[in-house]
Symmetry: D2
Subunit: 343 residues, 4 copies
């Protein structure tokens, strides 16, 4: 059995990690730690995790996390780097935060305003062959952001196939409010979010922008720039990413389709839907699958790709466990749900 | 492997059966049938069931259902009896409809207005020792209604312990709209149900009323009568049942607590929450667990018991599979989720 | 013009008062005050109140509230009494909080745990003839709680007509989350409340219990006791109160209907729906109307009355303005919406 | 008093027209007609419209609509043209459908597939000076589509000021499900839409695309092309339109801001929010106001403008009444709400 610790078990990402780890046949759940919630019974914080209800959260520290094969860090952005430095080199450390996602120190500085901690292998196996290769046997893994997972998977095939132009990419994504975390903020109150949609981070400032650009640039092999606008939708979970890029002159609908079929034909967790069927976040709730569909708008010369994911599952905790499986050399799909909960 | 067919695979109960059966390690999913949706690709109707997306629904008939170890009937009320009669005696037939739930022909006639088809072993193992015993090896099983499961589990311990009085039981339950099925009715449109609560079947007419009374009478061993009012809540799934009964004079809070601890101490799918923690449907979404809590209101001499369940999981499909496990003599909990999906 | 000040303008009740006062043809909106939000532009707190967006909140104090014909207090429970004492006797002071609702000092002490501040005329004109009479020309008014408004209007006719028995009243109500206010609490986060129902204050401890009993006792002229369980529903606004009482032997459905028609035949803001049509909170969103329906369940000898209201409108701010109109001797319905916003 | 008839009073647009007309001080509501719902009591279809509950719907026909100063047509697309031809020339006819919105017969043919009925003065007074001028005294008015209202108001100032480039406009909009109407379709069931977001009409096929292009082309005075993707959001009402266009080189944030201030500085129903505050549909629920905000993303050379409207109010019925006011020469804002209902 693989012994696993979760730091930040009190938050939404932590809770989702535990939900999935409970279903993982080769995992034994070890230390569960938190910051302000240390000392609390897990059943109070996550009443949906019945089998762990009587566990009490320890204080997050290198000591409480020691002695595990795998440590997941589900901490506020910026908190992972210091902690990770104190964990043994041969422990698999998987960071659900942003600290190690960006390879470019300048971009990090520009969007996060702190010193760059470095970068770790990027936990999106479907990005390209290199990604999966680097995750095999990795001891340190940076889990992608929830928006970058959705947006990258929607557009990467168009860039990998050389179909899309690298400028004028526009991405508008809607996220359930769990994506904003469990912190107490007035605009996240139920009465505020139910029945309402609103944008945030408009104008290019959202921190997931450079991460999306990094991914698309990597597959395009030329610099890709992105206008990215996230919006908050009245649902607990789910991201719907509507992504569009200009295509090179003469690209046909068949070429577009072929590029996506080639990219995802053998992927277990990214499903290109049959032509004409569009993704809905409802179909991927609690699933590790991302649904993708694509169309060519010939009038305006643009490809429109839409992806739906569960921001907490494939967008965070499921993606993290998928990477853990690769790191440990066990089948990639072990313990990960391929069905959603609907309706 | 157990070969399983599902009749009525296009509806919400059918979809939930398939979601759970996909996770059942000893099941092979055989025929999937429907009425008006025969001929349709399952992926169109249930996009969340990726692994079955390419299955095409057959027409429901004894022929298409033949040759399986187990047949689940997820049909409109009244449609099961005729079909069941044409299925082999040694096939395990599990009816998610109402046809075989009531033992009293008069009550059936009064609430359903048609001829009584008879009654089958009742698929609520937690009801009493007899229930679980009768399910062992059963070839015909009547799955309880979603409201009766929630309401019965909330109040049965109080009646089994002789604490509650059999008159003046009042139950008010709120259900997600999937409980009303997939039929197209104006009041079930999203724009109508979001942001709104409304009652229905008020005044004692709801067909689950005699089923709740039958269950509570069985454990109380005296006739129990119930005022039951269901309401429609703006959520896809979940039932919250608020149930109250007068207690006999002198009953103490400790006795109440003890009765519930005794009833559910060893049950895997019914969890009495720690004192002071109240159930929320959010914690049992997609889980086969029911959360129960109880309080004694000494001012008015009433016990108030609240249960939360997922109407499609423990309230229908999960309960059905739990009974299947018992019927087949495999561990009762096989393939059934004990964690919810939250937030 | 009537000059009106609102203390506590930053909260949900304050915001709803302002929404309605903006539509009141005889009102001039004067001071707007707050506690921690003093100094803030109203447009930041209530972006829906465009015409007042540039107003800046003053600090709540007798000075900032001085010089108005009417002062509304929309403050946390317990904060009104001290402030009210410092407002001039000839100012109409309307308290949306609980401080002056209960007439019985012992009940106050039992449920609120502090010293009783006294009681003011009760702002529910439809309760009985005395209520409306006392509001005429009143200088101090206690606005009813949101649940008591809904529950009282549902059951009062049955008690006024001597139809209902005073024991074994059971009320289960579902409320939108704005009823819990704008305070930052984890269980009120959008991700927690969407898709979930949960009870609270179970077992007779909710502070609205004695207020409901006080109202029903007043119309019944014998002591009425109530089992009251509130639940939180996944919607921003609205209360659906399902209320049931035993009827005296021999009471007929016609008598029940007649009692309700007599009670509400001429009321503008309480509408008894046509027989067979049940209330939905969706139909009274943003309206000052309460919809009521009633049925007799002869099997169990109970009347079931259901009411739907908007907790912020008729349940708080609309009810407050209706009382203001009576206090000032202007037509009771002035400035109050009789239509809902649907769907 | 102005006598007003509403054809199609049973639908969502019809219901919203009636809600607003009830609050219009100069209107007398005359004939209310429907197709399949003729003969039904309005209270059954629109329980929120208490004051009209006892009205019975007549059959839609020139006869039942005769004798009014104003006739609103809230009919399925394609049904207005024939009916309008039979209404007197001196009756003000206001079509909430699409029949008379497009000026280009070819575009009509391409997107609607039927013969072009012609075009009427376009009911968006804020579009440009000509729009308001043409509405003054008009006898025939085409009410804009809900998406075109939101998208046009978001981007028009950038085109009017010559700031935006006419190609590569991308619009992604989220709409509440009332925008899809009251027709019974499986994907509009509450259980399907709650908790889920999904796109539709992807790839340039949505019929509002040419209407948006027509509007922006009109203000830009060069042909503007648009990639438009609508999505369905889990809320009853509201549109959030995220709109982006490339700016000409050298355009500054100040210029952008100035263009929007100039466009909307004196508009009553379009509010440019203070810098840094972004629109939310929650703030314009039931209001005739549109909230707009804009930012310049200098990294990618794009202006991002976001608008929030209530699709049924400003997006349909409120916009229609605003145009009626102009047609009749009464103050444009008469009877139209400038506050939203929140939370």
């Amino acid at each position: 059995m693989i012994s696993v610790a979760v730091a930040g078990a009190s938050g939404y990402a932590g809770g989702e990690l535990l939900r999935l780890l409970l279903g993982h046949p080769q995992v034994r759940i070890g230390s569960l730690t938190a910051g302000g919630n240390a000392g609390t019974r897990l059943g109070e914080l996550h009443p949906h995790l019945g089998p762990l209800a009587d566990r009490v959260l320890a204080q997050t520290s290198p000591d409480t996390l020691a002695g595990h094969d795998v440590v997941f860090l589900a901490l506020p952005h910026g908190a992972s780097a210091a902690l990770a430095a104190d964990l043994p080199d041969d422990t698999v450390v998987i960071d659900c935060g942003a600290d190690f996602r960006l390879t470019d120190a300048e971009q990090w500085q520009a969007f996060y305003g702190s010193e760059h901690a470095g970068s770790w292998p990027y936990g999106l196996p479907e990005l390209d062959a290199r990604a999966r290769r680097e995750l095999n046997g990795a001891k340190r893994i940076a889990v992608p952001g929830c928006y970058p997972t959705a947006a990258t998977l929607a557009l990467a095939p168009a860039f990998a196939a050389g179909i899309a132009q690298p400028e004028d990419v526009v991405i508008v994504a809607a996220s359930g409010t769990s994506g904003a975390g469990k912190g107490l903020k007035p605009h996240l109150l139920g009465a505020e979010v139910m029945g309402a949609m609103s944008p945030y981070g408009v104008g290019g400032g959202h921190r997931h922008t450079p991460e999306i650009e990094q991914n698309l640039t990597r597959v395009a092999e030329v610099p890709v720039t992105v206008s990215f606008t996230p919006t908050l939708a009245p649902m607990p979970r789910g991201i719907l990413a509507t992504c569009t890029a200009k295509v090179h002159p003469g690209v046909s609908a068949n070429e577009v389709r072929a590029a996506y079929e080639k990219a995802y034909g053998t992927e277990r967790f990214v499903q290109l839907l049959p032509e004409g069927q569009w993704p809905t976040t409802g179909a991927v709730l609690a699933s590790n699958c991302v649904h993708v569909q694509v169309a060519l708008d010939e009038r305006v010369g643009r490809v429109i790709a839409v992806s739906a994911e569960d921001n907490l599952t494939k967008g965070t905790a499921g993606g993290a466990i998928q990477s853990m499986n690769l790191a440990l050399g066990i089948p990639e799909e072990t313990g990960l749900p391929t069905t959603g909960v609907a309706p």
